[in-house]
Symmetry: C2
Subunit: 116 residues, 2 copies
Amino acid sequence: MTAIAQTPDSPYYAVIFTSIRMEGDEIAYAEMAERMVELAAVQPGFLGIESVSDPNGTGLTVSYWRDLDAIQKWHAVAEHQEAQRLGKEKWYSQFQLRVCRVEREYGWQQLGDEPR
Amino acid sequence: MTAIAQTPDSPYYAVIFTSIRMEGDEIAYAEMAERMVELAAVQPGFLGIESVSDPNGTGLTVSYWRDLDAIQKWHAVAEHQEAQRLGKEKWYSQFQLRVCRVEREYGWQQLGDEPR
């Protein structure tokens, strides 16, 4: 992950995708994951994405969306459907997907050198 | 992260904590993080936690709670307040915290060897 997603004021929606990878196929998986981030980013209603994975093969990806309709349309995109199929066939031993309404948020950033 | 959280049927609540670490103090930070997971787990209304961090210092932690009241009470626990203070003073260069209502979920798990 390179940055914290710059989301608008709530309410908006989050999809929390928690996954455990099967071993192998690292390069093809990484390419697919990168492509899905690119493809998500050009969908209507996309607000941002945060994704972190560890060397043990566990991953947490949160994508942010304007509304439930945008999430449903992204779910149905043909190339994404194919990735979902491959996910079950080859990539994941287990995953959980949670659709959430973001109700409030709080952000904080270190500024300069003064004590805080 | 060792496992996907076993949460009940929705609705319930999720706190998405996305963070970027400052360098240094790795051992003390890891101890604090582990202690906070232990302490969260014994709070009323705690449902589970998933946390992944990468070597660049970005982290995603999602904790799950029965309701907003449980989240507020956890926020106010004295030892957690002290960790929040240290987080701003020493651990994080930036973080974002999002409180969400989980509205639906979908889980999947690889079973046996049959094609799926």
